[in-house]
Protein backbone atom coordinates (compact mmCIF):
# COMPACT_ATOMS: atom_id res chain seq x y z
CA UNK A 1 0.00 0.00 0.00
CA UNK A 2 1.34 3.44 -0.85
CA UNK A 3 1.91 6.09 1.75
CA UNK A 4 -0.86 8.20 0.25
CA UNK A 5 -3.34 5.34 0.40
CA UNK A 6 -2.47 4.69 4.01
CA UNK A 7 -3.01 8.32 4.87
CA UNK A 8 -6.35 8.40 3.08
CA UNK A 9 -7.41 5.21 4.83
CA UNK A 10 -6.31 6.62 8.18
CA UNK A 11 -8.17 9.87 7.75
CA UNK A 12 -11.24 8.06 6.46
CA UNK A 13 -11.22 5.97 9.61
CA UNK A 14 -10.79 9.05 11.80
CA UNK A 15 -13.55 10.87 9.93
CA UNK A 16 -15.87 7.91 10.44
CA UNK A 17 -15.04 7.90 14.15
CA UNK A 18 -15.74 11.62 14.53
CA UNK A 19 -18.99 11.40 12.56
CA UNK A 20 -20.22 8.46 14.60
CA UNK A 21 -19.20 10.20 17.82
CA UNK A 22 -21.00 13.40 16.90
CA UNK A 23 -24.02 11.44 15.79
CA UNK A 24 -24.11 9.74 19.17
CA UNK A 25 -23.80 13.05 20.99
CA UNK A 26 -26.17 15.10 18.88
CA UNK A 27 -28.72 12.44 17.94
CA UNK A 28 -32.17 13.61 19.07
CA UNK A 29 -33.32 11.58 22.06
CA UNK A 30 -36.24 11.92 24.44
CA UNK A 31 -35.73 15.15 26.37
CA UNK A 32 -36.58 13.51 29.69
CA UNK A 33 -36.54 10.02 31.13
CA UNK A 34 -39.72 8.57 32.59
CA UNK A 35 -38.39 9.24 36.10
CA UNK A 36 -37.62 12.85 35.24
CA UNK A 37 -41.05 13.32 33.68
CA UNK A 38 -42.61 12.01 36.88
CA UNK A 39 -40.57 14.58 38.81
CA UNK A 40 -41.61 17.37 36.44
CA UNK A 41 -45.22 16.39 36.93
CA UNK A 42 -44.87 16.86 40.71
CA UNK A 43 -43.69 20.44 40.10
CA UNK A 44 -46.41 21.25 37.57
CA UNK A 45 -49.12 23.63 38.79
CA UNK A 46 -51.67 21.15 37.45
CA UNK A 47 -50.59 18.82 40.27
CA UNK A 48 -51.70 21.31 42.91
CA UNK A 49 -54.69 19.74 44.66
CA UNK A 50 -57.81 21.81 45.32
CA UNK A 51 -57.35 23.87 48.47
CA UNK A 52 -58.38 21.77 51.48
CA UNK A 53 -60.74 23.34 54.03
CA UNK A 54 -59.13 25.07 57.02
CA UNK A 55 -60.82 23.34 59.95
CA UNK A 56 -59.42 25.94 62.36
CA UNK A 57 -61.36 28.72 60.58
CA UNK A 58 -65.07 28.10 60.04
CA UNK A 59 -65.25 31.32 57.99
CA UNK A 60 -62.33 30.41 55.72
CA UNK A 61 -64.50 29.78 52.66
CA UNK A 62 -67.21 32.37 53.40
CA UNK A 63 -67.14 34.97 50.57
CA UNK A 64 -68.55 37.64 52.91
CA UNK A 65 -65.67 37.00 55.30
CA UNK A 66 -63.23 37.30 52.39
CA UNK A 67 -64.79 40.62 51.35
CA UNK A 68 -64.63 41.93 54.94
CA UNK A 69 -61.08 40.60 55.29
CA UNK A 70 -60.05 42.43 52.15
CA UNK A 71 -61.32 45.71 53.61
CA UNK A 72 -59.35 45.09 56.80
CA UNK A 73 -56.26 44.12 54.78
CA UNK A 74 -56.10 47.57 53.18
CA UNK A 75 -57.38 49.67 56.12
CA UNK A 76 -54.55 51.76 57.62
CA UNK A 77 -56.71 52.82 60.60
CA UNK A 78 -55.77 49.50 62.20
CA UNK A 79 -52.39 50.82 63.36
CA UNK A 80 -50.97 53.15 65.99
CA UNK A 81 -50.34 56.00 63.55
CA UNK A 82 -53.15 55.43 61.04
CA UNK A 83 -50.66 54.70 58.27
CA UNK A 84 -50.02 50.97 58.38
CA UNK A 85 -52.20 48.19 56.93
CA UNK A 86 -51.37 44.62 55.97
CA UNK A 87 -51.00 45.98 52.44
CA UNK A 88 -48.24 48.36 53.55
CA UNK A 89 -45.78 45.46 53.42
CA UNK A 90 -47.87 43.00 51.40
CA UNK A 91 -48.20 45.24 48.35
CA UNK A 92 -50.49 43.67 45.71
CA UNK A 93 -48.58 45.27 42.81
CA UNK A 94 -45.36 43.69 44.09
CA UNK A 95 -46.76 40.19 44.52
CA UNK A 96 -47.95 40.94 48.08
CA UNK A 97 -44.46 41.71 49.38
CA UNK A 98 -42.43 44.91 49.66
CA UNK A 99 -39.07 44.32 48.00
CA UNK A 100 -37.22 45.42 51.16
CA UNK A 101 -34.60 43.43 53.11
CA UNK A 102 -36.48 44.11 56.37
CA UNK A 103 -40.17 44.95 56.64
CA UNK A 104 -41.11 48.51 57.60
CA UNK A 105 -44.30 49.38 59.45
CA UNK A 106 -44.28 51.63 62.49
CA UNK A 107 -40.63 50.65 62.81
CA UNK A 108 -38.35 48.13 61.14
CA UNK A 109 -38.69 44.42 61.78
CA UNK A 110 -35.88 41.86 61.95
CA UNK A 111 -37.14 39.77 59.01
CA UNK A 112 -38.07 40.06 55.36
CA UNK A 113 -41.77 40.34 54.41
CA UNK A 114 -43.00 36.98 53.09
CA UNK A 115 -45.14 36.66 49.96
CA UNK A 116 -48.75 35.53 50.48
CA UNK A 117 -49.72 33.67 47.29
CA UNK A 118 -50.25 29.98 47.95
CA UNK A 119 -49.61 30.18 51.72
CA UNK A 120 -53.06 28.69 52.31
CA UNK A 121 -51.34 25.41 51.43
CA UNK A 122 -48.74 25.80 54.17
CA UNK A 123 -49.18 24.22 57.59
CA UNK A 124 -46.73 26.78 59.01
CA UNK A 125 -46.61 30.54 58.61
CA UNK A 126 -43.73 33.01 58.97
CA UNK A 127 -40.09 32.15 58.28
CA UNK A 128 -39.92 30.21 61.55
CA UNK A 129 -43.41 28.70 61.44
CA UNK A 130 -44.43 30.32 64.73
CA UNK A 131 -48.05 30.34 63.56
CA UNK A 132 -50.01 27.38 62.24
CA UNK A 133 -52.81 29.08 60.32
CA UNK A 134 -53.25 32.11 58.10
CA UNK A 135 -55.67 33.68 60.59
CA UNK A 136 -53.28 33.29 63.51
CA UNK A 137 -50.50 34.71 61.33
CA UNK A 138 -52.54 37.78 60.37
CA UNK A 139 -52.95 38.67 64.05
CA UNK A 140 -49.21 38.70 64.78
CA UNK A 141 -48.16 41.89 62.95
CA UNK A 142 -51.26 43.77 64.13
CA UNK A 143 -49.98 43.66 67.71
CA UNK A 144 -46.29 44.02 66.90
CA UNK A 145 -44.85 47.34 68.08
CA UNK A 146 -42.78 47.71 64.89
CA UNK A 147 -45.51 46.67 62.44
CA UNK A 148 -49.12 47.90 62.98
CA UNK A 149 -48.31 48.96 66.53
CA UNK A 150 -51.95 48.86 67.66
CA UNK A 151 -53.82 46.75 70.18
CA UNK A 152 -56.96 44.69 70.64
CA UNK A 153 -59.34 47.13 72.28
CA UNK A 154 -58.35 49.81 69.76
CA UNK A 155 -59.25 47.39 66.96
CA UNK A 156 -62.50 46.34 68.66
CA UNK A 157 -63.53 50.00 68.89
CA UNK A 158 -62.66 50.50 65.21
CA UNK A 159 -64.79 47.50 64.20
CA UNK A 160 -67.59 48.93 66.35
CA UNK A 161 -67.30 52.33 64.70
CA UNK A 162 -66.68 51.45 61.03
CA UNK A 163 -67.53 47.81 60.38
CA UNK A 164 -70.38 46.87 62.72
CA UNK A 165 -72.72 45.86 59.86
CA UNK A 166 -70.16 43.75 58.01
CA UNK A 167 -68.96 42.14 61.20
CA UNK A 168 -72.40 41.26 62.53
CA UNK A 169 -73.59 39.84 59.21
CA UNK A 170 -70.84 37.25 59.43
CA UNK A 171 -70.01 36.68 63.09
CA UNK A 172 -73.22 37.68 64.88
CA UNK A 173 -73.79 40.43 67.43
CA UNK A 174 -70.82 42.60 68.32
CA UNK A 175 -70.49 43.11 72.09
CA UNK A 176 -71.13 46.59 73.45
CA UNK A 177 -67.69 48.19 73.80
CA UNK A 178 -69.00 51.71 74.56
CA UNK A 179 -68.00 51.67 78.25
CA UNK A 180 -64.38 52.85 77.98
CA UNK A 181 -63.85 52.18 81.68
CA UNK A 182 -64.33 48.48 80.91
CA UNK A 183 -62.93 48.64 77.38
CA UNK A 184 -60.10 51.21 77.28
CA UNK A 185 -59.25 52.94 74.01
CA UNK A 186 -55.88 51.28 74.09
CA UNK A 187 -55.32 47.89 75.72
CA UNK A 188 -53.86 44.57 74.74
CA UNK A 189 -51.14 42.00 75.47
CA UNK A 190 -48.53 44.12 73.71
CA UNK A 191 -45.06 45.52 74.35
CA UNK A 192 -46.37 48.99 75.17
CA UNK A 193 -46.46 49.10 79.02
CA UNK A 194 -49.51 51.39 79.29
CA UNK A 195 -51.67 49.31 76.92
CA UNK A 196 -50.42 46.15 78.56
CA UNK A 197 -51.28 47.40 82.07
CA UNK A 198 -54.72 48.50 80.89
CA UNK A 199 -55.26 45.03 79.41
CA UNK A 200 -54.28 43.32 82.67
CA UNK A 201 -56.71 45.58 84.56
CA UNK A 202 -59.66 44.32 82.47
CA UNK A 203 -61.83 41.44 83.66
CA UNK A 204 -61.12 38.05 82.03
CA UNK A 205 -64.64 38.14 80.51
CA UNK A 206 -64.09 41.54 78.91
CA UNK A 207 -60.68 40.50 77.62
CA UNK A 208 -62.28 37.39 76.17
CA UNK A 209 -64.97 39.45 74.40
CA UNK A 210 -62.32 41.70 72.82
CA UNK A 211 -60.09 38.78 71.86
CA UNK A 212 -62.99 37.03 70.14
CA UNK A 213 -63.50 40.06 67.90
CA UNK A 214 -59.76 40.16 67.27
CA UNK A 215 -59.77 36.47 66.30
CA UNK A 216 -62.67 37.03 63.92
CA UNK A 217 -60.73 39.83 62.24
CA UNK A 218 -57.91 37.35 61.67
CA UNK A 219 -60.29 34.75 60.29
CA UNK A 220 -61.77 37.30 57.87
CA UNK A 221 -58.31 38.41 56.70
CA UNK A 222 -57.39 34.73 56.22
CA UNK A 223 -60.56 34.16 54.17
CA UNK A 224 -59.25 36.88 51.83
CA UNK A 225 -55.63 35.75 51.84
CA UNK A 226 -56.67 32.17 51.07
CA UNK A 227 -57.79 33.36 47.65
CA UNK A 228 -54.45 34.95 46.73
CA UNK A 229 -52.96 32.45 44.32
CA UNK A 230 -50.27 32.23 41.72
CA UNK A 231 -51.13 31.25 38.16
CA UNK A 232 -49.52 29.08 35.48
CA UNK A 233 -46.07 30.03 34.21
CA UNK A 234 -44.06 29.24 31.09
CA UNK A 235 -42.59 26.34 33.03
CA UNK A 236 -46.08 24.88 33.50
CA UNK A 237 -46.80 25.19 29.78
CA UNK A 238 -43.55 23.33 29.14
CA UNK A 239 -44.36 20.49 31.54
CA UNK A 240 -47.88 20.18 30.21
CA UNK A 241 -46.40 19.80 26.73
CA UNK A 242 -43.66 17.44 27.93
CA UNK A 243 -46.24 15.13 29.49
CA UNK A 244 -47.86 14.85 26.06
CA UNK A 245 -44.48 14.67 24.26
CA UNK A 246 -45.49 17.81 22.35
CA UNK A 247 -42.00 18.89 21.28
CA UNK A 248 -43.21 21.94 19.40
CA UNK A 249 -44.91 23.51 22.43
CA UNK A 250 -42.01 22.46 24.63
CA UNK A 251 -39.59 24.32 22.38
CA UNK A 252 -41.78 27.42 22.25
CA UNK A 253 -42.24 27.45 26.04
CA UNK A 254 -38.66 27.23 27.28
CA UNK A 255 -35.30 27.95 25.67
CA UNK A 256 -32.55 25.35 25.74
CA UNK A 257 -30.76 27.34 28.47
CA UNK A 258 -33.88 27.32 30.62
CA UNK A 259 -34.34 23.60 30.06
CA UNK A 260 -30.73 23.03 31.09
CA UNK A 261 -31.43 25.07 34.23
CA UNK A 262 -34.45 22.90 34.95
CA UNK A 263 -32.30 19.80 34.48
CA UNK A 264 -29.83 21.13 37.04
CA UNK A 265 -32.66 22.20 39.36
CA UNK A 266 -34.15 18.70 39.59
CA UNK A 267 -30.74 17.04 39.38
CA UNK A 268 -27.23 17.92 40.51
CA UNK A 269 -28.08 21.31 42.04
CA UNK A 270 -30.37 19.57 44.58
CA UNK A 271 -32.80 22.52 44.61
CA UNK A 272 -35.74 20.15 44.51
CA UNK A 273 -34.87 18.69 47.90
CA UNK A 274 -36.56 21.65 49.57
CA UNK A 275 -38.23 23.46 46.69
CA UNK A 276 -40.52 20.61 45.69
CA UNK A 277 -44.18 20.16 44.81
CA UNK A 278 -46.23 22.49 42.59
CA UNK A 279 -45.48 25.50 44.81
CA UNK A 280 -41.74 24.76 44.85
CA UNK A 281 -41.59 24.54 48.64
CA UNK A 282 -41.90 21.71 51.13
CA UNK A 283 -43.08 24.25 53.74
CA UNK A 284 -40.66 22.62 56.14
CA UNK A 285 -37.61 24.19 57.85
CA UNK A 286 -34.02 24.07 56.66
CA UNK A 287 -30.70 25.49 57.77
CA UNK A 288 -28.89 26.36 54.55
CA UNK A 289 -26.12 28.35 56.22
CA UNK A 290 -27.58 31.73 55.32
CA UNK A 291 -25.34 34.39 56.91
CA UNK A 292 -26.41 36.36 59.96
CA UNK A 293 -26.91 40.09 59.52
CA UNK A 294 -24.75 42.48 61.53
CA UNK A 295 -26.79 44.55 63.94
CA UNK A 296 -29.77 42.19 64.08
CA UNK A 297 -30.48 40.11 67.19
CA UNK A 298 -29.50 36.44 67.10
CA UNK A 299 -32.08 34.54 65.05
CA UNK A 300 -32.52 30.86 65.93
CA UNK A 301 -35.25 30.36 63.32
CA UNK A 302 -37.42 27.28 63.77
CA UNK A 303 -35.85 26.49 67.17
CA UNK A 304 -37.70 29.49 68.61
CA UNK A 305 -40.63 29.24 66.17
CA UNK A 306 -41.43 25.69 67.28
CA UNK A 307 -41.59 26.73 70.93
CA UNK A 308 -43.68 29.79 70.05
CA UNK A 309 -46.31 27.90 68.10
CA UNK A 310 -46.71 25.29 70.84
CA UNK A 311 -47.67 27.98 73.34
CA UNK A 312 -49.39 30.34 70.88
CA UNK A 313 -52.77 31.50 72.19
CA UNK A 314 -54.22 31.17 68.67
CA UNK A 315 -52.81 27.78 67.63
CA UNK A 316 -54.86 24.93 66.20
CA UNK A 317 -55.50 23.39 69.63
CA UNK A 318 -56.49 26.73 71.22
CA UNK A 319 -60.07 27.56 72.24
CA UNK A 320 -60.19 30.16 69.43
CA UNK A 321 -59.55 27.52 66.79
CA UNK A 322 -62.59 25.84 65.25
CA UNK A 323 -60.66 22.62 64.68
CA UNK A 324 -61.00 19.45 66.68
CA UNK A 325 -57.71 18.01 67.97
CA UNK A 326 -57.79 15.33 65.24
CA UNK A 327 -57.50 18.16 62.70
CA UNK A 328 -54.33 19.47 64.33
CA UNK A 329 -51.93 16.70 63.29
CA UNK A 330 -49.23 19.11 62.14
CA UNK A 331 -49.11 20.74 65.57
CA UNK A 332 -49.56 17.57 67.61
CA UNK A 333 -46.85 15.64 65.80
CA UNK A 334 -44.43 18.47 65.05
CA UNK A 335 -40.72 18.22 65.84
CA UNK A 336 -40.42 20.62 68.75
CA UNK A 337 -36.73 20.43 69.56
CA UNK A 338 -33.41 19.21 68.23
CA UNK A 339 -30.27 20.47 66.57
CA UNK A 340 -31.82 20.50 63.09
CA UNK A 341 -34.22 23.30 64.09
CA UNK A 342 -31.46 25.78 64.90
CA UNK A 343 -31.42 28.55 62.28
CA UNK A 344 -33.75 26.53 60.08
CA UNK A 345 -36.13 28.66 58.03
CA UNK A 346 -39.05 27.90 55.75
CA UNK A 347 -38.33 27.95 52.00
CA UNK A 348 -40.79 30.33 50.32
CA UNK A 349 -42.47 29.27 47.09
CA UNK A 350 -40.21 29.89 44.11
CA UNK A 351 -43.10 30.89 41.91
CA UNK A 352 -42.54 34.55 40.89
CA UNK A 353 -39.20 34.46 42.69
CA UNK A 354 -37.37 36.50 40.03
CA UNK A 355 -39.39 39.62 40.87
CA UNK A 356 -38.98 39.21 44.59
CA UNK A 357 -35.47 40.41 45.48
CA UNK A 358 -33.89 40.69 47.99
CA UNK A 359 -33.74 37.09 49.15
CA UNK A 360 -33.60 35.06 52.39
CA UNK A 361 -35.20 35.71 55.77
CA UNK A 362 -33.48 39.06 56.32
CA UNK A 363 -32.95 40.01 52.67
CA UNK A 364 -29.30 38.94 52.89
CA UNK A 365 -28.90 38.48 49.13
CA UNK A 366 -29.63 41.24 46.63
CA UNK A 367 -29.80 39.12 43.49
CA UNK A 368 -30.48 35.57 42.37
CA UNK A 369 -26.81 35.45 41.37
CA UNK A 370 -25.90 36.00 45.04
CA UNK A 371 -28.35 33.27 46.10
CA UNK A 372 -26.94 30.75 43.64
CA UNK A 373 -23.37 31.67 44.57
CA UNK A 374 -24.28 30.92 48.19
CA UNK A 375 -25.75 27.52 47.37
CA UNK A 376 -22.79 26.73 45.11
CA UNK A 377 -20.21 27.44 47.83
CA UNK A 378 -22.30 26.25 50.84
CA UNK A 379 -20.50 28.19 53.59
CA UNK A 380 -20.55 27.12 57.24
CA UNK A 381 -23.72 28.13 59.07
CA UNK A 382 -23.46 30.95 61.65
CA UNK A 383 -25.20 28.55 64.09
CA UNK A 384 -26.39 24.97 63.80
CA UNK A 385 -25.41 22.92 60.75
CA UNK A 386 -26.07 23.70 57.14
CA UNK A 387 -27.92 21.01 55.21
CA UNK A 388 -26.30 21.90 51.91
CA UNK A 389 -23.00 20.87 50.37
CA UNK A 390 -20.92 22.72 47.78
CA UNK A 391 -22.27 22.09 44.29
CA UNK A 392 -19.18 22.86 42.23
CA UNK A 393 -21.26 24.23 39.36
CA UNK A 394 -19.80 26.65 36.82
CA UNK A 395 -21.01 30.25 36.47
CA UNK A 396 -22.55 29.19 33.20
CA UNK A 397 -24.54 26.44 34.93
CA UNK A 398 -25.65 28.84 37.69
CA UNK A 399 -26.80 31.15 34.89
CA UNK A 400 -28.94 28.34 33.46
CA UNK A 401 -30.61 27.82 36.85
CA UNK A 402 -31.36 31.55 37.11
CA UNK A 403 -32.76 31.47 33.57
CA UNK A 404 -34.99 28.60 34.66
CA UNK A 405 -36.14 30.41 37.83
CA UNK A 406 -37.30 33.29 35.63
CA UNK A 407 -39.70 30.92 33.85
CA UNK A 408 -41.71 30.52 37.08
CA UNK A 409 -43.44 33.88 36.79
CA UNK A 410 -47.21 33.57 36.72
CA UNK A 411 -50.02 36.01 37.28
CA UNK A 412 -50.91 36.45 40.95
CA UNK A 413 -54.65 36.58 41.35
CA UNK A 414 -56.58 38.03 44.27
CA UNK A 415 -60.28 38.82 44.65
Amino acid sequence: MSERKQLVAGFALLFALIISGLTYILWPRPAWTEAELATLRTLWIGSLPPLAPDPSNQYADDPRAAEFGKQLFFDTRFSSNGEVACATCHIPEKGFQDGLPLARGIGTTTRRTMPIAGTAYSPWLFWDGRKDSQWAQALGPMESAVEHGGNRTQYAHLIDEFYRTEYESIFGALPDFSDTARFPESAGPVADPIASAAWNAMTPEDREAVTQVYVNMGKAIAAYERLIMTGPSRFDAYVQAALKADTKTMNSSLTSDEVEGLRLFIGPANCIQCHNGPLFTDNHFHNTGVPAVDGLPEDTGRAQGAQSVLTDEFNCLSPYSDASPEDCSELRFMVADGEELLRAFKPPSLRNVAGRAPYMHAGQFTTLEDVLAHYNSAPTAPAGHTEIEPLGLSDRQLGYIIAFLKTLDGEITAP
Binding site: L14, T39, T42, I272, G277, R332, F333, V335, R396
Partner: protein
Protein backbone atom coordinates in the same frame (compact mmCIF):
# COMPACT_ATOMS: atom_id res chain seq x y z
CA UNK B 1 7.12 0.62 4.81
CA UNK B 2 7.13 0.09 8.55
CA UNK B 3 8.06 3.71 9.23
CA UNK B 4 5.28 4.78 6.86
CA UNK B 5 2.69 2.82 8.86
CA UNK B 6 4.02 4.17 12.13
CA UNK B 7 3.92 7.70 10.73
CA UNK B 8 0.30 7.27 9.61
CA UNK B 9 -0.76 5.87 12.96
CA UNK B 10 1.01 8.75 14.71
CA UNK B 11 -0.73 11.37 12.54
CA UNK B 12 -4.12 9.75 13.02
CA UNK B 13 -3.59 9.45 16.78
CA UNK B 14 -2.43 13.07 17.10
CA UNK B 15 -5.38 14.31 15.03
CA UNK B 16 -7.74 12.32 17.22
CA UNK B 17 -6.19 13.71 20.41
CA UNK B 18 -6.30 17.27 19.03
CA UNK B 19 -9.95 16.81 18.02
CA UNK B 20 -10.85 15.61 21.50
CA UNK B 21 -8.94 18.48 23.12
CA UNK B 22 -10.61 21.03 20.83
CA UNK B 23 -14.01 19.55 21.66
CA UNK B 24 -13.27 19.75 25.39
CA UNK B 25 -12.06 23.34 25.02
CA UNK B 26 -15.22 24.22 23.10
CA UNK B 27 -17.49 22.75 25.80
CA UNK B 28 -17.87 26.01 27.74
CA UNK B 29 -19.05 27.64 24.52
CA UNK B 30 -21.40 25.01 23.19
CA UNK B 31 -22.56 24.35 26.74
CA UNK B 32 -23.57 21.09 28.32
CA UNK B 33 -27.00 21.06 26.78
CA UNK B 34 -25.95 19.12 23.67
CA UNK B 35 -24.07 16.52 25.59
CA UNK B 36 -25.24 13.16 26.60
CA UNK B 37 -26.01 13.30 30.36
CA UNK B 38 -23.28 10.74 31.02
CA UNK B 39 -20.71 13.00 29.39
CA UNK B 40 -21.49 15.97 31.60
CA UNK B 41 -20.44 13.95 34.59
CA UNK B 42 -23.75 13.24 36.17
CA UNK B 43 -26.66 10.91 35.84
CA UNK B 44 -29.98 12.45 34.85
CA UNK B 45 -31.23 12.17 38.41
CA UNK B 46 -29.23 13.26 41.40
CA UNK B 47 -27.12 10.36 42.64
CA UNK B 48 -28.38 10.85 46.19
CA UNK B 49 -31.93 10.21 45.09
CA UNK B 50 -31.12 6.87 43.53
CA UNK B 51 -31.82 4.16 46.09
CA UNK B 52 -29.93 0.85 46.08
CA UNK B 53 -31.27 -1.40 43.34
CA UNK B 54 -31.81 -4.31 45.72
CA UNK B 55 -33.99 -2.29 48.13
CA UNK B 56 -36.85 -4.30 49.62
CA UNK B 57 -39.89 -2.04 49.48
CA UNK B 58 -42.48 -4.59 50.58
CA UNK B 59 -45.10 -3.41 53.05
CA UNK B 60 -45.06 -6.71 54.92
CA UNK B 61 -41.84 -7.50 56.79
CA UNK B 62 -40.52 -9.71 59.54
CA UNK B 63 -38.82 -7.92 62.42
CA UNK B 64 -35.03 -8.04 62.62
CA UNK B 65 -34.97 -10.88 65.16
CA UNK B 66 -37.91 -12.71 63.65
CA UNK B 67 -40.31 -12.14 66.57
CA UNK B 68 -43.08 -10.36 64.70
CA UNK B 69 -44.55 -10.02 61.28
CA UNK B 70 -45.51 -6.41 60.60
CA UNK B 71 -47.44 -4.77 57.79
CA UNK B 72 -48.72 -1.27 57.18
CA UNK B 73 -51.40 0.43 55.14
CA UNK B 74 -51.41 4.17 54.49
CA UNK B 75 -54.54 6.30 54.25
CA UNK B 76 -52.54 8.29 51.69
CA UNK B 77 -52.22 5.91 48.78
CA UNK B 78 -50.05 6.25 46.81
CA UNK B 79 -47.72 7.87 49.30
CA UNK B 80 -46.88 11.47 48.41
CA UNK B 81 -44.67 14.20 49.79
CA UNK B 82 -45.72 17.10 52.03
CA UNK B 83 -49.01 15.63 53.25
CA UNK B 84 -49.47 14.63 56.85
CA UNK B 85 -51.39 11.37 57.09
CA UNK B 86 -52.15 8.25 59.09
CA UNK B 87 -50.91 4.68 58.84
CA UNK B 88 -52.43 1.52 60.24
CA UNK B 89 -49.90 -0.99 61.49
CA UNK B 90 -50.73 -4.66 61.82
CA UNK B 91 -48.56 -6.83 64.05
CA UNK B 92 -48.68 -10.57 64.45
CA UNK B 93 -46.36 -13.20 65.85
CA UNK B 94 -44.25 -15.38 63.58
CA UNK B 95 -47.00 -18.02 63.71
CA UNK B 96 -49.73 -15.55 62.75
CA UNK B 97 -51.31 -14.62 66.10
CA UNK B 98 -52.24 -10.90 66.36
CA UNK B 99 -50.07 -9.04 68.87
CA UNK B 100 -52.30 -7.00 71.15
CA UNK B 101 -51.16 -4.35 73.64
CA UNK B 102 -47.79 -3.79 72.02
CA UNK B 103 -45.79 -0.69 72.83
CA UNK B 104 -44.62 0.90 69.63
CA UNK B 105 -42.26 3.77 68.86
CA UNK B 106 -41.72 5.31 65.44
CA UNK B 107 -38.52 6.65 63.92
CA UNK B 108 -37.12 7.07 60.44
CA UNK B 109 -35.44 9.30 57.93
CA UNK B 110 -33.53 9.43 54.67
CA UNK B 111 -30.38 7.27 54.84
CA UNK B 112 -28.81 9.08 51.87
CA UNK B 113 -29.41 12.53 53.33
CA UNK B 114 -28.69 11.94 56.99
CA UNK B 115 -31.89 13.52 58.27
CA UNK B 116 -34.86 12.17 60.19
CA UNK B 117 -38.59 12.45 59.71
CA UNK B 118 -40.03 15.98 59.52
CA UNK B 119 -42.61 15.02 62.17
CA UNK B 120 -42.73 12.89 65.32
CA UNK B 121 -45.34 10.28 64.46
CA UNK B 122 -46.95 8.36 67.31
CA UNK B 123 -49.19 5.36 67.81
CA UNK B 124 -52.38 6.99 69.08
CA UNK B 125 -54.88 4.13 69.07
CA UNK B 126 -54.91 0.40 69.62
CA UNK B 127 -57.69 -0.88 67.39
CA UNK B 128 -57.41 -4.45 68.68
CA UNK B 129 -56.70 -7.56 66.64
CA UNK B 130 -53.07 -6.44 66.28
CA UNK B 131 -53.98 -3.18 64.53
CA UNK B 132 -52.56 0.18 65.61
CA UNK B 133 -53.13 3.72 64.34
CA UNK B 134 -49.97 5.73 63.61
CA UNK B 135 -50.68 9.45 63.31
CA UNK B 136 -48.40 12.22 62.08
CA UNK B 137 -46.66 10.45 59.18
CA UNK B 138 -45.08 12.90 56.74
CA UNK B 139 -42.26 12.98 54.18
CA UNK B 140 -41.00 16.24 52.82
CA UNK B 141 -38.93 15.17 49.80
CA UNK B 142 -38.79 12.56 47.12
CA UNK B 143 -36.41 9.62 47.32
CA UNK B 144 -35.63 6.74 49.65
CA UNK B 145 -37.14 6.91 53.13
CA UNK B 146 -36.87 4.44 56.01
CA UNK B 147 -39.61 4.12 58.62
CA UNK B 148 -38.60 2.12 61.69
CA UNK B 149 -40.87 0.70 64.34
CA UNK B 150 -39.70 -0.63 67.67
CA UNK B 151 -42.26 -3.10 69.01
CA UNK B 152 -42.38 -4.35 72.59
CA UNK B 153 -44.82 -7.01 73.70
CA UNK B 154 -44.59 -9.34 76.68
CA UNK B 155 -41.20 -7.88 77.55
CA UNK B 156 -39.76 -8.74 74.15
CA UNK B 157 -38.64 -5.93 71.86
CA UNK B 158 -37.91 -6.22 68.17
CA UNK B 159 -37.48 -3.70 65.39
CA UNK B 160 -38.59 -3.51 61.77
CA UNK B 161 -37.67 -1.10 58.97
CA UNK B 162 -39.86 -0.34 55.97
CA UNK B 163 -38.30 1.20 52.88
CA UNK B 164 -40.32 3.69 50.85
CA UNK B 165 -39.59 5.34 47.53
CA UNK B 166 -41.40 8.64 47.15
CA UNK B 167 -41.89 10.66 44.00
CA UNK B 168 -40.99 14.32 44.10
Amino acid sequence: MKTQTAKTILIVALTAIITVIVFILLMPIIGPRFMHPLMSGYMPMHANSVPPASLDISTVRTTDNGLYRVSFTSELNPLAINQIHTWTLHIETADGQPVENAEITVDGGMPQHGHGLPTRPQVTQNLGNGDYVVEGMKFQMGGWWEVKFSITSGGKTDTVTFNLILEG
